[in-house]
């Protein structure tokens, strides 16, 4: 199977006794067939120039995926560009009533940002599900998106929130919806020399709530079998006037099924609407069979996760 991030499974994959022997430099350092140049530029312009200069260059944000891939020799970059020295990529700022979050902001930093957390609790809860405390101190939303795992937890939450990715590249800056960045497992729509610089979470309408839920067999430190992000807005009479639903780990990239969102819009998000949401979410899922769950199981759980996430989002929209 393909592993997508540091917080993957592999428990007990090694006989425990082997950890007592230091296996020597050749065995423990990822061998690597090429020289790996490391650069830590302090400006976006310098980072873009470096990435544009080397087609085998990789961006290093938190490193919680990249270092795993380096050691497993699944990648052999000749250049690694550490973006954590670039101030704007590590900044959280207000912009037109919304928030701009640098792509290299860590999960821990965002989780400690009370203002952001109070507006977008669903995004923060998704990010905080990624790995452990030690992972969250390094891992970033930019990395979670660009690693392009179909099971990335923060991605459905960002799609539901309507977040925009701001991309910098040799031809300048462009903005795209977060859902258009990953195109399949490990693949993105980024062009040569481009990197995701930041995310814009636009100003939120009043009476809006968001939530993210995932199913995993353990309670911590696992990869989503199914993930669901929901964001919905109510009017003064508690009727849903806007909704976005996004599903993770049930297709080659995060989905945003229109039918699932439409099941909520125009309703008071009652049992009938939630049942329709559940049906629409399950119908949209196109999962694979693997050791984490069968296709049939994932399809069923998709509806359950979507419904429960919508119930939490509803309570938050009502200010509960």
């Amino acid at each position: 199977m393909t592993t997508f991030r540091g917080a993957n499974c592999g428990l007990g994959a090694k006989p425990v006794c082997s950890v007592f022997t230091d296996t020597g430099s050749n065995a423990t350092e990822g061998s690597g067939g090429v020289e790996m140049r490391y650069e830590a530029p302090e400006t976006m312009k310098a980072a873009v120039a470096l990435l544009a200069s080397d087609e085998h260059g990789r961006v290093l944000a938190g490193g919680t995926d990249l270092l795993v891939q380096l050691r497993a020799d699944t990648i052999e970059p000749s250049l690694v560009v550490d973006i954590k020295k670039i101030d704007e990529m590590c900044a959280i700022t207000r912009e037109n009533g919304g928030f701009r979050i640098g792509a290299a902001v860590t999960g821990a930093e965002l989780g400690e940002h009370e203002a952001f957390k109070s507006v977008w609790p669903g995004v923060v809860e998704a990010l905080e599900l990624i790995g452990s405390t030690q992972i969250q101190g390094r891992a970033t939303m930019g990395g979670n998106l660009c690693n392009a795992s179909p099971a990335a937890d923060s991605v459905p939450a960002m799609i539901a929130a309507g977040a925009i990715a701001t991309i910098e590249g040799p031809d300048g800056r462009r903005d795209v919806p977060v859902g258009e960045v990953a195109t399949g497992p490990g693949r993105t729509s980024l062009r040569a020399g481009e990197l995701v610089a930041s995310f814009l979470f636009p100003e939120q309408a009043p009476r809006t709530g968001d939530a993210y839920l995932r199913f995993i067999p353990r309670t911590e430190m696992d990869i989503a079998v199914v993930g669901a992000g929901v964001c919905l807005t109510l009017d003064d009479s508690d009727v849903c006037v806007a909704a976005k639903v996004s599903l993770g780990a049930v297709a080659a990239r995060a989905l945003a099924p229109e039918a699932a969102a439409k099941a909520l819009i125009g309703t008071p998000v009652d049992d009938a609407a939630l049942a329709e949401l559940s049906r629409a979410a399950s119908a949209a899922a196109q999962p694979i069979d693997d050791k984490r769950g069968t296709r049939e199981f994932r399809i069923q759980v998709t509806g359950v996760m979507a419904r429960r996430a919508a119930e939490t989002a509803l309570a938050r929209a009502k200010g509960a």
């Binding site: 423990t28 350092e29 020289e35 050691r71 550490d82 405390t133």
Partner: protein, 172 residues
């Protein structure tokens, strides 16, 4: 492997480890954990899974816990690193967490202990009076094969009390 006649790409970095400043040349691919163990002899930091799951290699980087196996040494340039060797006082007196681990039988083989201690130093710094559930959640990033965690949880709760008493005695 590097090709015949090629030298591995290296970088000069400055690390402060347990308050001692080191200027060393490291290969760009070397992880922080390998650097601490091999270049600086800080073998108290253990390497288990080497892909970010087991937590044995946890060290503090500028006060925050991080996986030593998921950071390159070059990324830590300029950082203050604390390893398990830096927890006891200069005079050799154990950190209250170490004392509590000793008294509560919170380790058997000890392989995971350094990573648990460093993780819990950060945790108790942020949450000086945790509940048992909070301790268990904070321990979820560290895997212990031997103890079943009961002694570890007791030790962390006991150490929290000792640290509160110690810090309360110092504070006005």
């Amino acid at each position: 492997m590097t090709g015949v006649g090629e030298l591995p790409e290296t970088r000069s970095v400055t690390l402060s480890v347990n308050g001692e400043r080191h200027e060393i040349d490291v290969e760009t691919r070397m992880t922080l954990a390998d650097c601490l163990r091999r270049k600086l002899g800080k073998t108290g930091t253990h390497l288990g899974c080497e892909h970010g799951v087991c937590g044995a290699c946890t060290v503090l980087v500028d006060g925050r816990s991080a996986r030593g196996c998921l950071m390159l040494a070059v990324q830590a340039n300029g950082a203050e690193i604390t390893t398990v060797e830096g927890l006891a006082s200069r005079g050799g007196e154990w950190h209250p967490l170490q004392q509590a681990f000793h008294e509560h039988h919170a380790l058997q083989c000890g392989f995971c202990t350094a990573g648990i201690l460093t993780s819990m130093v950060e945790f108790l710094g942020e949450n000086p009076d945790p509940t048992e559930d909070e301790v268990r959640e904070a321990l979820s990033g560290n895997i212990c094969r031997c103890t079943g965690y009961q002694g570890i949880v007791r030790a962390v709760l006991d150490a929290a009390g000792r640290l509160r008493a110690r810090n309360g005695a110092i504070a006005p």
